[in-house]
């Protein structure tokens, strides 16, 4: 990654706390960078007023000798599906355009409690449905490495914003790869935790059995520092799990003696040769550093995309049923009856991909098809989880590419939904199994970034961060 105007997050906040840097200046620096790079379309809206007020109160507290949090004065950017005060939360959809949240998401509350300052909301595929940000109802974000290409998605705005140096970190969400794949496409670190490690309260829901909060950062250390603040149980999200008692910071880099499985099914047909080359060199570098890297086969892994595109649309169709034009957000004004208000509000408010997923979900859950599609998919999911569990009896980590290709051109896959879905073919497996996974910059192919995918057993997020840190050092 290129030199950054931001210090590592731990150092940056330490300097603010010590009075060497002012939160107000950091906020201006972030806003200025966002303005200077707005042609990339990474950002939907900035939150200048609230950010400046918060910065002033943090600076005043420090001046008065009061204790401030461990992210004091650190600006960040949230994907626009997090409910945040001071700005609309649109999920990049016409359906939610104009929606201002009556409360904030738990992770935003936790970050603010430690003094972090949200300066902007980042672009995404509408309702997080997509792999390129081309499904945003507003605009497509450009890849900083090549503006003719997509940044990946759905957290493409967040990933691009980090590479464009707009803030020290950004939040994303990952349902089937939406943090990892854009991180791979733009060249930053994208972290997807164990399912349930962070609260989803106050985030626009996509598919509840795989949705997680993720981070986009320059380094694994920055990711660890942020995760340490936001991880853990939340009474507002019953699916949350306990945080690691050891925490997530100060994780030593660890490579020597690690048993690493290179996933055979992720290295075969369909993977761009340039991507495979980068991943093989990473595996060689790990071997040279004392890791035991061997090939491993998970025969059901190629089925994961089919499982995903049954399970996820089913959950999407259920979660999006709340957008009925009656309680909040877009409502069709000229309906004569309640039913017409529902159908017109949804028909006009949702974009093409949301409608597509709602209808697939409705189909696979409908009477007569439920067993053949939904129940079958959830059972193949079990088979897939069993294969991951078997692999983790032999290996500490599994590796491979994050996506089969580097960033594709804007428009290249836009007219073929199935082709677009294939961009997620490697990231959906760990999502269905609830496994923590990370994308670490591993090199380039034709000058475009390639990310290394590292996957770990459930609840071993701390070990994964240590592995990522070691990988970062070897691949830098």
């Amino acid at each position: 990654m290129q030199a950054s105007q931001w210090l590592p997050i731990a150092e940056l906040s330490a300097k603010v706390r010590a009075g060497e840097l002012r939160a107000a200046d950091l906020v201006e620096q972030a806003l200025k960078t966002i303005e200077a790079k707005k042609e990339y379309n990474a950002i939907i809206a900035t939150i200048p007023e609230r950010a400046r007020t918060r910065a002033a109160s943090i600076d005043a507290a420090i001046k008065n000798g009061e204790t401030v949090g461990r992210l004091a004065g650190v600006p960040f950017i949230a994907k626009d599906n997090f409910l945040v005060f001071g700005a609309e939360t649109t999920a990049a959809s016409n359906m939610l355009k104009g929606f201002t949240a009556p409360y904030q998401s738990t992770v935003i509350e936790k970050l603010e409690a430690e003094g972090a300052i949200c300066v902007a909301k980042a672009n995404l595929d509408a309702f997080a449905h997509g792999a390129s940000t081309e499904n945003s109802d507003f605009f497509t974000t450009k890849n900083p490495a090549d503006v003719a290409r997509v940044p990946g998605g759905s957290s493409g705005g967040s990933a691009a914003a980090v590479v464009l140096d707009m803030a020290p970190f950004a939040l994303g969400t990952d349902t089937g790869g939406s943090v990892r794949q854009p991180a791979s496409f733009v060249g930053c670190v994208g972290y997807k935790p164990t399912y349930g490690l962070m609260s989803r309260s106050g985030i626009v829901a996509m598919a509840s059995s795989t949705d997680v909060v993720g981070t986009l950062t320059r380094t694994a250390d920055d990711a660890a520092y942020v995760i340490d603040v936001i991880a853990g149980r939340d009474p507002l999200d019953g699916t949350t799990i306990e945080r690691d008692p050891a925490g997530y910071t100060d994780v030593p880099a660890a490579m020597k003696g690690k048993k690493i499985g290179l996933i055979k099914e992720w290295m075969g047909e369909g993977v761009a040769p340039g991507v495979a080359t980068v991943i093989r060199s990473a595996a060689d570098a790990f071997r040279a550093a004392g890791a035991d890297v061997r090939e491993v086969s998970l025969p059901s892994l190629p089925l994961s995309l089919a499982v995903y595109y049954i399970v996820v649309p089913a959950e999407v169709s259920s979660n999006l049923s709340r957008h009925d034009g009656q309680r909040f957000a877009f409502s069709y004004a000229d309906a004569a009856t309640l039913d017409e208000s529902y159908t017109q509000s949804r028909g006009n408010g949702f974009g093409a991909e949301a409608k597509r997923r709602i209808m697939i979900g409705t189909y696979v859950l409908s009477s007569g098809y439920y067993d053949a599609y939904y129940r079958k998919a959830q059972t193949v999911r079990t088979k897939l989880i069993n294969e991951f569990n078997e692999a983790f009896k032999q290996f500490d980590f599994l590796i491979g590419p994050v996506a089969p290709t580097t960033a594709f051109k804007i428009g290249e896959n836009a007219s073929d939904p199935l082709q677009m879905y294939l961009a997620d073919v490697m990231t959906v497996g760990p999502s269905l199994a609830g496994l923590p996974a990370i994308s670490v910059p591993a090199g380039t192919s034709d000058n475009l970034p390639v990310g290394l995918h590292i996957v770990a057993p459930q609840r071993s997020d701390r070990a994964l961060l240590g592995m990522a840190k070691a990988a970062e050092e070897l691949l830098a």
């Binding site: 019953g238 009656q326 209808m359």
Partner: protein, 97 residues
């Protein structure tokens, strides 16, 4: 599975409460058929002896005390975002045409 018909798409749209334009009906007929054909690959997968998974971390029956907690969001905060209201109630269209 055979390709979806126009009537299948209309039925799905009706179940999902979506209006579709003529153009969209044909577009989704073709796209949804392709996607459903792709996921057909699960049909012949042997899953003998396996149960479906819907919750991956093994959590069951997460309970809390049944007590009122103030989260700082008032009914008025929620009414503020309602598209159409009268007094303190959500106003909807009549149900029978």
């Amino acid at each position: 599975m055979a390709d979806l018909t126009r009537d299948d798409v209309l039925k799905l749209a009706q179940l999902a409460r979506l209006t579709l334009s003529e153009e969209e009906i044909e577009k989704y007929r073709s796209e949804l058929s392709q996607i459903l054909a792709y996921v057909q690959q699960l049909k012949d997968v042997d899953v003998t002896g396996l149960e479906p998974t819907s919750q991956v971390t093994g959590l069951m029956n997460v309970m809390r005390e049944d007590e009122v907690v103030d989260y700082g969001v008032s009914p008025d905060d929620l009414l503020r975002i309602v598209p159409s209201k009268q007094d303190r109630q959500i106003k909807v269209k009549r149900m029978i045409a």
